[in-house]
C-alpha cells in the first residue's frame, strides 16, 4: 500500500491502523472501534474490507482505518493533523 510517497506491505496486522503504526506512519485515532471517526482517511485507489460496522457518516472516498484491512493494493491520504 502507498501513503504519500511511501510504499509498504500490509503484513496481516489486525487493522489498517495497526499496519500504519507498525510502519511508524503517524495516523490519527481515538476509539479504535469504528465509532469516533477520528481515524478517517481518504482512499485514493484500491479497496478495503471492513471487519466491523462503523458508525460514522463517511464520504464516498473516506475509510476508517481502525476497522478495515486492505483487500487490494491501496493508496491512502492521511489528513494533516
Amino acid at each position: 500500500m502507498k501513503v504519500g510517497n511511501n510504499t509498504f506491505y500490509y503484513q496481516y496486522e489486525p487493522s489498517l491502523l495497526d499496519s500504519l503504526e507498525a510502519q511508524e506512519i503517524q495516523a490519527p485515532y481515538n476509539c479504535r472501534a469504528g465509532y469516533c471517526g477520528r481515524c478517517k482517511v481518504r482512499l485514493l485507489t484500491g479497496e478495503v474490507k471492513y471487519l466491523d460496522e462503523g458508525m460514522v457518516d463517511l464520504k464516498e472516498e473516506e475509510i476508517l482505518t481502525c476497522i478495515c484491512v486492505p483487500k487490494t493494493h491501496i493508496e491512502i491520504e492521511i489528513p494533516e493533523d
Partner: protein, 376 residues
C-alpha cells in the same frame, strides 16, 4: 399542536424528519430512517458499566499526598466534570424529546442521557472516596464564579430552546408576547435554536469534556489517581459515542437530507455556530489559567492545555464541516490517544463489562455440511 405522549394518528415514521414532524407513537425499530441511532444505542448498551466496579482505595492515599496546588487542579476539574454531566443527564431529554419525530432518535436521546446519569453517579463515587465531606465539593459547584460562568454558557441554548418549545406547545407556532416579552416561536426560529443547541452540545461533549479528560489522565500518566482515570476512561468511551451522535445530527441537518429547510437554517446559523466553538475554546483557555494559577504539574501546564484546546477545537470544527479556527498543529498531548482508545480499557473481565462482549451472542453461521467430517 401540543405534545402528545402517544400520537393516535397512523403515519410512516420513516418519512418524518428528525425534529418538528409528528410526535412519535409506537416505539418500533424494525423500520428505521436512520439505522445509525440503533447502532449507537446497541453500542451504548454494550458499554454499560457501574462506577462501583472501579476500586478507588489507592486514590484516597494519592490525594492526601498531593501538594495543595495539585489538589486544586484535581478538585476543580472534577467539579467541572460534575457540572457538565449534571446538565447532560437531563437536558437532551427535556430539550429534544418533546420535538423529536423518529423513534430510533427518541430512544437514542434517552439512552444517551441515561449514560450521563451513570457518569454523575461516578463523580459521587470518586468524591466520597477521596474526601470525608463530599458537600464541601458539591456545594461549591454553584458558588464558584469560575464554574458558574461556564454553567451559564453550557446551558444557555438548551434553556432558550426549552423556553420557546414550551411556549409553542401552549400557544402554537408564531411570535407570542407574554408579560411584555416577545418570544419568537416560529418554526424557522425553533429550527435555528435546535441546530445551535446541537452545536452547543457538541462543543460540550467534544471539546469541554476532552479538556477535562486531559487533566484527569495527566495525573494517571504519573501513576497517581489511577482509579479516577479508569472511571474517566469509561466516561470518555461513552462521550466518543455521544459526540458521534451529535456530529451526525449536525451534519445531516446541515445537508438538508433530513429536512430541506434545515439546510438554509444551518447556512443562516453558520457564523453563530462557529462562534460557539470559538467562545468555548477561549473559555477553556481561561479555565486552564485558573486550574494552574497556583502552579503546574508534571506533564501539564496552562500553556500545553491551551494548545490542546486549540488542537481539539480544530479537529471538532472540521468534523462538522467548518474551517479550522486556529493554526494547524500536532496533538500536544499524544499520550491522550492511549487513554481514549476503547480497546485499552484494562480491567479484569470480572471487574467490568467488556465492550466487545455481548450476552447471548451465538454464531449462527453454520451450514448443514459443517459437521460432515466429524466422527463419534
Amino acid at each position: 399542536m401540543s405534545y402528545t405522549t402517544f400520537n393516535p394518528k397512523s403515519f410512516d415514521s420513516t418519512k418524518e424528519p428528525m425534529f418538528f414532524g409528528q410526535n412519535v407513537n409506537v416505539a418500533r425499530y424494525d423500520v428505521q430512517r436512520y439505522p445509525i441511532f440503533e447502532k449507537l444505542i446497541e453500542k451504548q448498551l454494550s458499554f454499560f458499566w457501574r462506577p462501583e466496579e472501579v476500586d478507588l482505595s489507592t486514590d484516597r492515599k494519592d490525594f492526601i499526598d498531593m501538594p495543595e496546588h495539585e489538589k486544586h487542579i484535581f478538585l476543580s476539574n472534577l467539579k467541572y466534570q460534575t457540572l457538565l454531566d449534571s446538565v447532560q443527564g437531563r437536558s437532551p431529554n427535556v430539550a429534544f424529546l418533546p420535538i423529536v419525530s423518529i423513534p430510533e432518535l427518541e430512544t437514542w436521546l434517552e439512552t444517551w442521557a441515561f449514560s450521563e446519569t451513570v457518569h454523575s453517579r461516578s463523580y459521587t463515587h470518586i468524591i466520597r472516596n477521596i474526601v470525608t465531606d463530599p458537600s464541601v465539593i458539591f456545594d461549591e459547584i454553584v458558588t464558584n464564579p469560575e464554574i458558574v460562568k461556564r454553567a451559564e454558557s453550557v446551558t444557555r441554548l438548551y434553556d432558550e430552546l426549552i423556553r420557546l418549545t414550551s411556549i409553542q406547545n401552549v400557544h402554537g407556532y408564531g411570535v407570542h408576547t407574554i408579560d411584555d416579552v416577545e418570544y419568537d416561536c416560529t418554526l424557522w426560529n425553533l429550527k435555528c435554536k435546535v441546530y445551535l443547541t446541537m452545536v452547543s452540545v457538541n462543543v460540550l461533549e467534544a471539546i469541554r469534556f476532552y479538556v477535562s479528560f486531559a487533566c484527569s489522565f495527566a495525573f494517571a500518566e504519573r501513576a497517581i489517581m489511577e482509579g479516577n482515570a479508569k472511571i474517566i476512561k469509561l466516561i470518555a468511551r461513552d462521550e466518543a459515542l455521544h459526540l458521534t451522535g451529535t456530529q451526525y445530527i449536525i451534519n445531516t441537518l446541515g445537508s438538508g437530507a433530513d429536512d430541506e429547510e434545515f439546510k438554509e437554517v444551518a447556512a443562516a446559523c453558520r457564523e453563530e455556530a462557529i462562534a460557539l466553538f470559538a467562545e468555548a475554546a477561549e473559555q477553556e483557555k481561561e479555565w486552564a489559567k485558573y486550574l494552574f494559577r497556583d502552579g503546574s504539574m508534571i506533564g501539564l501546564n496552562a500553556q500545553i492545555l491551551s494548545e490542546y484546546v486549540e488542537y481539539i477545537t480544530n479537529v471538532r470544527v472540521q468534523a462538522v464541516g467548518f474551517e479550522e479556527i486556529f493554526p494547524a498543529r500536532q496533538n500536544p498531548l499524544p499520550w491522550m490517544n492511549a487513554w481514549l482508545s476503547s480497546d485499552n480499557v484494562q480491567v479484569a473481565p470480572q471487574e467490568s463489562e467488556i465492550s466487545s462482549y455481548l450476552v447471548g451472542q451465538i454464531d449462527n453461521s453454520l451450514e448443514d455440511g459443517d459437521f460432515d467430517d466429524f466422527d463419534f
